[in-house]
Amino acid sequence: MININNVSLAYTIHHERSHSLKEKMINLFHKRKYVEQSEETFWALKNLNFSVHEGEQFAIIGKNGAGKSTLLKVISGILKPTKGSVEVNGSIQPLIEIAAGFNPEFSGRENIYLNGYMLGFSREQLKAKEKEIIDFSELENFIDVPVKYYSSGMSVRLAFTIATSVEPEILLLDEMISAGDAGFIKKARSRMESLVKRAKGVVIVSHDLQLVREFATRAVVIDKGELVFDGDPNQAVDKYLNL
């Protein structure tokens, strides 16, 4: 269902975080090269090979900065691999950086439509889902207010609900989302569970090792961008703990 072939991904890191034409010009004239030197290529993923099959509940574990989120972005097509290729059969939907992607000037309702269309819903589908989204996120009274006046919990609730109203064949989850207050987290969890049940394949990234042991049918361990283990989740967790 997902084939990862020799995938490597490089980030360019700017030590001076200024992208300025002025500086480029000045450097050009002064023939100083420090701007070039301050750029550094960082390989966040190194020659990864594995595939995820239909029906699998696949977990990716690894330390902070290991490259897990990057890998999910590559699978979902948001980032193109620097080397290698990714094949995906089936509709795919990443649940990452959920709270991004709202226009703060637009109302909640307008953002539902804008985001919904981006996620590939048709007009009819969105009209049918609109009420469910508003009800689930409990924002009836605020739905026509610009999102910039929402509390952070409120916008996360709305974003989570929109993102989880798509039912993709392949679901990519980056960390479990701690969205809003205790009541909402409980609701959110059961919504996630039913989404996972309906998906043909799930890839999760998690630091919750208990969850990985119980939930996953297969797991990989990533360390500094490299694949160091692929197989049984319990063994993967042990491997990870000994890193």
Binding site: T12, H19, L21, K80, E97, A100, Y117
Partner: protein, 266 residues
């Protein structure tokens, strides 16, 4: 050539797939601009008219010009120039202001450029519609068959600024400070384009200089049917078409080259 045509076709198909995103983006934005109040609509229609009126009054006092229907001359040039300037001035922001979407989901980058161009075009339609009507009411000019060319001139201007916005958007991802320089350039080019004055009012050698300014051809082509009631010279029209296609092609190529690189710099 063939593969470029394929690229354009593919791009159109993808944009068609995301047409509702464009619809919802543009309609929400326009609502934001216009809905605040009835005065809001009124103002955004008449605002440009009043603006040009003041500009025209001041300038005709200063320059003692004797053009009979000077306001028709002024507004037809200025409104059209402002359409192009609005897209160009916002061009650097097309990607950096949409960072949230770009990082969350894969979307064709041209989508953001199309949204910008479409929004400004609709805005332009509103204000130019009002102005054309006012001009007719106040007998500044007469309807003529040559007006039929106006939609095409607008279309070419759109292609022209689409290309520029692609290039500026990509450039700004790499060099964030171009958005400080650009408004100055556009301000200067407003005065360098015969909008407030007629080309003929310039000294001979400056007239040649004006012909190096791409906006000159666009503005002349749009103004000619309204102000003179006649089609623009074919050579001007040819230059407009050439410039638009050139800008569109280069813009699209730049966009394709950087499509997957932009996200790494946001």
């Amino acid at each position: 050539m063939y593969s470029f045509a394929q690229t354009v076709k593919k791009e159109f198909l993808v944009l068609y797939k995301f047409r509702w995103v464009t619809y919802s983006f543009v309609s929400s934005n326009l609502k934001m601009r216009y809905k605040r109040s009835v005065i809001g609509i009124f103002w955004s229609m008449l605002g440009p008219a009043l603006n040009y009126l003041i500009m025209g009054l001041v300038f005709s006092l200063l320059a003692k010009n004797s053009m009979p229907n000077y306001f028709a001359y002024l507004f037809s040039g200025a409104a059209f120039y402002n359409l192009m300037a609005a897209v160009i001035n916002n061009g650097p922001y097309v990607f950096i202001h949409n960072e949230g979407y770009i990082k969350k989901i894969y979307l064709p980058k041209s989508l953001f450029v199309v949204n910008l161009v479409l929004m400004e075009t609709i805005n332009f339609m509103f204000s130019v519609g009002t102005l054309l009507l006012l001009g007719l009411i106040f007998n500044q000019y007469e309807l003529s068959l040559s007006w039929l060319i106006l939609p095409f001139v607008v279309l070419f201007a759109i292609l022209f600024v689409f290309g520029l916005a692609c290039i500026l958007g990509v450039t700004c991802v790499y060099f964030r400070d171009i958005n400080h320089i650009l408004p100055l350039v556009m301000q200067a080019s407003f005065f360098a384009t015969p909008i407030l004055y007629a080309v003929e009012a310039l000294p001979e050698n400056y007239q040649k200089l004006v012909r190096l300014n791409p906006f000159y051809y666009f503005v002349e082509t749009f103004r000619s049917p309204i102000f003179l009631g006649q089609l623009p010279p074919l050579s001007d029209l040819g230059i407009v078409i050439g410039l638009s296609l050139l800008s569109f092609v280069i813009g699209l190529i730049v966009l394709k080259l950087f499509d997957n690189k932009i996200i790494f710099k946001l």
